[in-house]
Amino acid sequence: MITEKLNLKLNGSALLLALSLGSSGTAFAQDDTIKVGVLHSLSGTMAISETTLKDTMLMLIDEQNKKGGLLGKKLEAVVVDPASDWPLFAEKARELVEIEGVAATFGCWTSVSRKSVLPVFEELNSPLFYPVQYEGEESSKNVFYTGAAPNQQAIPAVDYLMDEIGAERWILAGTDYVYPRTTNKILEAYLMGKGVSADDIMINYTPFGHSDWQSIVSEIKKFGSAGKKTAVVSTVNGDANVPFYKELANQGVSAEDIPVIAFSVGEEELSGFDTEPLVGHLAAWNYFMSVVDETNDEFIEAWQAFIGSEDRVTNDPMEAHYIGFNMWVKAVEKAGTIDADAVEQAIIGVSVPNLSGGYSTMMPNHHITKPVLIGEIQDDGQFDIVWETSGLVAGDAWSDFLPDSASLISDWRAPMACGNFDVSKGTCSGQNL
């Protein structure tokens, strides 16, 4: 609790620092360039995840320029640092669109940062590509969700545990904020719908950066010793994962007894772990670095060459940016202009190669189609893919398993253009949430 307060304070001061440094990305507006905004935290607590995405964007833009740019013009990246500070995200977004005049912005990681910039992009009518898995229950004319919606990650993961591992008891463990809470609500409804009794579901929330997992792991152990196969679905975020897995290993809970499937642990996070205690635990994503595919090999090679290190890994949100950027490029070429409305209409239905050997398509609800992969953590920090969906899964903005959103659909194609059309009433409420 109190640590978070301190975080805020620290972010506040980081803000001052960032404000003084933030103008470094500014450049003179030139007619022969198209500007692309990159809105990722380069300092503060989220820098750990977001810096990589900034570099990914720089690489993608660089490559596009080598191919001759876009509409005969050079692309120019405008990088700003919102410093893991949510209100600053909104300010920086405004700066990107109003002052820099970017054609599109790629950015944000946490849901709260996305919620913070959403009104800005809607007001200024400029597209944002959001590359991280999120809780759904949102649809905006200007936001394109290239990360996974719950039905593209959480639901297939539960299906896998249920059908392949035979799990009957469920522990939904998460960090206490909006993404885990909403995801767990959806999962709980989904499990109940599958006939799992309430006694067989345990839900547990922990604060950000929780480091003392003794009691919770002990509870998990007890919950899992009732004779039924038990699995943990973890939406535990960021830093809290290492102590969690360490405690599991120390208390003798192995992946074979009680597997943990995580939605926030990827290659990048694993590179900072001592992976020994994690081996055999699972993660669900739409992409793993270990995917065997030519496009993927090329991407990894290009990335490691760009960043100048063979140790650097690739991960799911990077793939999402790869897909999102290529979709945007294709849509601009299709529309022949960078005008936001034209591009937003043109991009629907655009298909580009993803990194797992198929094509991803932008759906009318601004989500994309992706395969879902389940991987087991190996001791070298990579994933061994043990299962994948037979086809592509289209992202669903409004979960079918929550009573409030089951009847909502989102379709941004021209005459309808509504993010939350209520099928049962035949009305568009015209509001988010």
Binding site: M1, T3, L10, A47, I216, S225, A226, N250, P259, E268
Partner: protein
């Protein structure tokens, strides 16, 4: 020829519903077929090499099948191979497709011939491809290996093997297990066999066997046994058995509850010791010197990073790295602490607000330095093997080793500090300067030197704390922030200027937190603890152990 067929009920897959025989593993003739193995000349291909292609197949089913075939081959080296596979040491050499056992040594991999156990030349990782395994294969391997080690001459191995098999052995295998029980000489192995037999008999035994098993189950807290009892209490045919079974379940549950309480107290003490370790350096700089040092957390972080660098510098001595890291971290953090004191704090004595702001600035600078020059990512600090795992007291209570060691470490550091404070000349000088600077100077104590050393000591202790905390959680630029507030809380709650207060406060908060946590969850538990401290400080602003006498008024 002794040949035992094990029927795995593989509960994981189909639970009790299907008792159908899923796997037959006829393995036991291994010990009786060395004749066969010897007749194979060296020129002939070993089963491992002949299965090489299937073992490295991309398809999991083919790999699993290959493992079954390997196990069924009856070769005497099967145990070694399966073990190497489980440990992830089985590789295929790309140049000739031969399967070798490889262990990492420095940057290269040391190879041994899997067939002959003869060392081969070292190669780079690129020359090898690993035979990867997943959970399904791992479970399979453990099962196969347990069956193999049932005949192991080492009683500990036998015991471990039997523990693996509890609840998983089918009725066909029971006669030979019962024979084994009769002939077994080691008491602990015998005990484990009895458990295995009882779990089986509660479910499938005849009435005499069931009665024996019930007698054995009385007072036992093994979870498989309790689960079997629970099933029996619902499904047994006669009423008296059902009643007896449910009575035994209740009895075991009462016992379990009691051990759960012991466990909670242990968790509390362990959390408390982490708080004390993190706070004790601050108890010196803030408590004794009165400096509000917001960079305390970053001094802890530096200690943790020192551990990381020590492990990087000496990759072959991970087991002892902590012993090197402790003095190194003390020196690094202590040195940085003295620099901070000499460079900044010295000029700000008596101005707490400015000190707070200045040290806060320093903390941000230290964080960003690490981000810039090391990495914004967390770094991996490895746990030595003696810090992993747990000490199993009984089936209901096991204490994790890393926590036990940190509790011990915390008490040791505390005792040493106490000795230093109360029994050494330097300690006397520190206390003198803290209590009355003018008088101490008049007595000939160089107060500014004492200030620097005291601050260095507090900082060095923070560095040591970093070594301990690197074993529990993340090591990254934000590590310090996670502990700074908790540290201040402990010191203020305990009473400023009192080492005993820090110890008692840390332990109290730790235990209180863990007692509350199971009821309200981790988030609310933390809130409740904060509320408690706020109310407490309102009534006793000087904490649990206020300083008395003239110094307190100063």
């Amino acid at each position: 020829m002794l040949s035992v067929i094990f029927t795995w009920k593989t509960k994981n897959l189909c639970l009790r519903r299907c008792s159908s025989t899923l796997l037959f593993i006829g393995l036991f003739y291994i010990s009786t077929v060395p004749v066969l193995a010897q007749t194979l000349t060296e020129a002939s291909v070993s089963p491992l090499q002949s299965l090489a292609e299937n073992l490295t197949s991309k398809k999991k089913d083919i790999r699993i099948q290959a493992i079954d075939e390997l196990a069924a081959s009856g070769d005497e080296r099967v145990g070694v191979w399966l073990n190497a596979l489980l440990e992830g040491q089985l590789y295929k050499r790309k140049s000739d497709g031969v399967i070798v056992i490889a262990k990492k040594s420095g940057k290269l991999y040391a190879l041994t011939d899997a067939d002959t156990n003869v060392p081969l030349e070292e190669v780079k990782k690129r020359a090898l491809s690993k035979i990867s395994i997943n959970n399904a294969i791992r479970t399979k391997l453990r099962g196969l290996l347990s069956i193999l080690s049932l005949k192991n001459p080492d009683p500990e191995k036998r015991e471990a093997a039997i523990t693996q098999l509890v609840g998983k052995v089918g009725i066909d295998a029971m006669p030979s297990i019962r024979d084994m029980y009769e002939t077994e000489t080691d008491a602990r192995v015998k005990q484990q066999l009895r458990l295995l037999i009882s779990v089986h008999d509660l479910d499938n035994g005849d009435s005499q066997q069931q009665a024996d098993a019930l007698a054995y189950a009385d007072g036992n807290m093994n979870q498989s046994l309790i689960n079997a009892l629970r099933t029996l209490s619902l499904q047994a045919e006669d009423d008296s058995t059902r009643a007896l079974a449910s009575e035994l379940v209740e009895k075991a549950e009462v016992k379990l509850k009691w051990y759960a309480r012991v466990e909670t107290v242990f968790f509390g003490i362990s959390l408390g010791s982490v708080l004390v370790v993190a706070a004790i350096g601050l108890a010196i700089t803030f408590g004794v010197m009165g400096v509000i040092n917001m960079a305390h957390g970053e001094l802890i972080m530096l200690g943790a990073y020192t551990t990381y660098f020590i492990q990087r510098l000496f990759p072959n001595t991970i087991e002892y790295s902590l012993f090197m890291a402790i003095p190194a971290a003390f020196l690094v953090s202590g040195f940085v602490g003295i620099l901070i004191e000499r460079g900044v704090i010295k000029h700000l004595y008596g101005r707490p607000l400015e000190t707070l702001l200045a040290t806060f600035g320093i903390s941000l600078m230290l964080q960003q330095l690490v981000r810039t020059f090391v990495s914004s990512q967390n770094v991996a600090v490895i746990n030595p093997s003696w810090m992993s795992g747990s000490w199993v007291v009984n089936p209901a209570l096991s204490l994790t080793l890393n926590r036990l060691i940190i509790i011990g470490f915390c008490l040791l550091v505390f005792a040493l500090l106490l000795l230093l404070f109360n029994r050494s000349g330097f300690g006397l000088q520190m206390r003198a300067v803290a209590q009355n600077r003018e008088m101490a100077r008049a007595m000939g104590i160089r107060s500014s030197r004492v200030d620097a050393l005291t601050f260095g000591l507090g900082s060095g202790i923070a560095g040591i704390a970093g070594v301990a905390l690197s074993q529990l959680g993340n090591v990254g630029p934000n590590l310090g922030q996670n502990y700074i507030i908790d540290s201040f809380m402990v010191v203020v709650f305990g009473g400023v200027g009192n080492l005993w207060g820090t110890l008692v406060a840390g332990m109290t908060l730790g235990i209180a937190n863990k007692v509350v946590e199971p009821w309200f969850g981790a988030v609310i538990a933390k809130v409740l603890i904060l509320v408690f401290i706020i109310i407490f400080i309102q009534h006793r602003p000087r904490g649990l152990f206020p300083q008395r006498g003239r110094a307190a008024e100063g």
